[in-house]
Amino acid sequence: MSLPLPKRSSTALRDPDAFFGVQLSQKIGVVVGGSLSKGLVIKLEAHQSIEDLAVGRYIVVHGDKRRFFCMITDIVLDNSNPEIQNTPPDISDAFFRDIYQGYAVFGKIHAQPMLVIDEDGTPKPVKTIPAHFTDVMNATVDDVNAVFGIEDKVHFNVGSPLELDQTQINLNLKRLVERSIGIFGKSGTGKSFLTRLMLAGIIARDQACALIFDMHNDYGWAVVDERGANSKGLKQLLGDRVSLATLDPASTIKRGAGSRRDFDVVIGYDEVEPEDLEMLRETMGFTDAMLDAARTLRGKWKGNWIGKLIDATNEDFDEIEATSPVRVGTLQGLQRRIQRFRKWEFLVEQSTGDSVRNVITHIEQGKSVVLEFGRYGNSVEAYILVANYLTRRIHEHYVDKVERALGDAGLEPNQLLIVIEEAHKFLDPRIASQTIFGTIARELRKYKVTLMIVDQRPSGIDEEVMSQIGTRITALLDNERDIAAVLTGINGAAGLREVLARLDTKQQAIIMGHAVPMPVVVKTRTYDEKFYQAIEGDISGQPIRLAKNGGSGDDNPPPRSPKLGSGGGDRRIR
């Protein structure tokens, strides 16, 4: 077809995009609604592929006076007329597709504002929201760096944010260890890997000593991952900074770490107190009456009450019954349960050394201790007994030292991080208030002992304890109750629920709380040769810092932007 249109001059050529206004390359949409409590609703630009967005990703809303850092919490398909759902256009035709998509039908995202950077550059908590039709951009490397800063002695690179591989999230280790830490995730999501990664950073950078109750031999020596590859254990990675102890020397020798172990943990019957059995109430079926009976026996038979109970006869029980309110039936029940101790070779009639002293000595020397359970890792009872036994005594020691340090700062002990797995067995709501672990979780940093609890059922942990956990590092969870438990006390939790339930099954976690300025989904670093080199660099005093975040590659980085606060780079929003 040809029309009698007088020819136009060639100089009049203009950009067709100008027809509806030029779009900025990074703009992904505009704010069209929302609230502070429920988050923002953002209509996507037509050019923005909805498939390129993912929950958990950062976006930045550029308001007139401040930048709002938001996390995508939901993605929605919408249309300008619901009738179109009944008569969908034929978008196999490119022309119709180009017209309908983004205009008659379009994408929307819901985003939760996490923090605000004001005109003066200071991150602040979100107390307002941007106006209608404010531009929404992809978060850039600079945006992420403005919040998370650069890697240095205190800030440890744990991975990169979603879709921003060229930058990194740096966790404030100092803040991480000063309150208890929770590492959660369903089975097979890499909790042990995450824990090892965090511990390597904490120990290599001297932020705390760790006492690790290594239930499944995941941390001390070589670990075979799911692909069958051998990963270095903390002892191999961190050398003298880690002491390897074992409850099961045969297992440690079999795994090739026999000569590298520092000491064996052996506990005498005479060292076990009735209070050490308290936590076995559920797993071994101790009743209140049995625990009272144990106290009575301890009073009557003194030190070797367990050894005597194991071998006691009915006559012995009759005698106890005659002189105390304890019934024979109760004693027999207690005996049957205690007799299981005989299977555990680390429990002996008379201990020749002092395992508690050994652990404390290593910690006082600034070393972390990995206690391997060997074959006893399959016995929850053994794990709980030993963890409770050692922790009670070490905590007492710390309380004593901290109180003495009030008069002499030189006596202040190292920050201690106690790592326990299957934490819900220790922090069950029914026992948490009475156990040492519940006490540690509540006391926080007062006595310089904090917990790192690793668990797959956070809903089984006491609510009060959960509320005291400073930093939560959570891999995929799909149980509603577990998700709710992890999000207790977190701002904007409703939006994060979707994020949490949709994490990848591997190498992804959301970090929330004390150690990060705002919740962040990270693709965690790979525990590989490159990571080993970085850790070895930290130990040798020649740290390898990735330059991509602007790091200088040494431990004297240029001063942080004054806009981001001062001192130790405390960028957290309170």
């Binding site: 029309l3 009698p4 249109l5 136009r8 067709p16 007329n81 022309f95 017209i99 309908y100």
Partner: protein, 202 residues
């Protein structure tokens, strides 16, 4: 089609209002300048500082007594036929809807402030003028909301016409951009939208 920079006069204004005008021309002058959906312009003031821009939405050829007689004849003489077409005293009427105006060099996509005076010369817009005018799409609403014009067909014809003002490489994107604007304006009437889109599909 011969395209040149000379003036393409469509006709002279017969009657006018701010919403549109009719212009007339001799029936012998009817050619491809008089196309449904063409962009035309007409001065509103003598100094041509204000020029109304419109779209041809109707072309009417009225009858007269002789034409009615000839229609009834069993055989029409060729000379009479040519004479009737070239010399009859009834003009061909071209209906134009106003969609904007130029005021001191600035294109405005709204109704002109005044109608053109009668007998003003109506010309086709040049390609540059069509290109400039279609950089914005505010005139779409004027067409879609116009009464007594076949608005769907008119807007489709106008956009097809305007696309030829664009270089070939830009024509597709121009149509897509127009389609997107129509998708927004006609979002409450999807059947109408799909009809118009089918008409402007390249």
């Amino acid at each position: 089609m011969v395209i040149n920079e000379k003036r393409h006069v469509v006709g002279r204004v017969l009657r006018a209002s701010t919403t549109g005008f009719d212009c007339g021309t001799r029936s012998s002058k009817i050619d491809d300048k008089h196309t449904f959906g063409s962009f035309v312009k007409v001065p509103i003031t003598d100094d041509e500082a204000v020029i109304a821009v419109g779209l041809i939405h109707a072309i009417r050829i009225d009858d007269d007594a002789l034409a009615r007689e000839l229609v009834m004849a069993s055989v029409v003489d060729n000379v009479a036929l040519i004479d009737q077409r070239e010399n009859r005293m009834v003009p061909v009427e071209i209906g134009v809807i106003n969609i904007g105006y130029r005021f001191n060099g600035v294109m405005v996509q709204s109704l002109p402030p005044r109608p053109p005076l009668s007998l003003s010369e109506v010309e086709l817009c040049t390609a540059d003028e069509v290109y400039e005018f279609t950089q914005r799409a505010d005139f779409f609403r004027l067409i879609l909301n116009a009464k007594e014009v076949p608005s769907d067909e008119l807007i489709a014809a106008a956009l097809n016409y305007a696309s030829y003002a664009y270089p070939e490489a830009e024509q597709y994107q121009f149509r897509v951009n127009c389609g997107r604007k129509l998708a927004m304006l006609l979002s409450n009437d999807l059947k109408r939208l799909s009809h118009v889109l089918a008409l402007i599909k390249p």
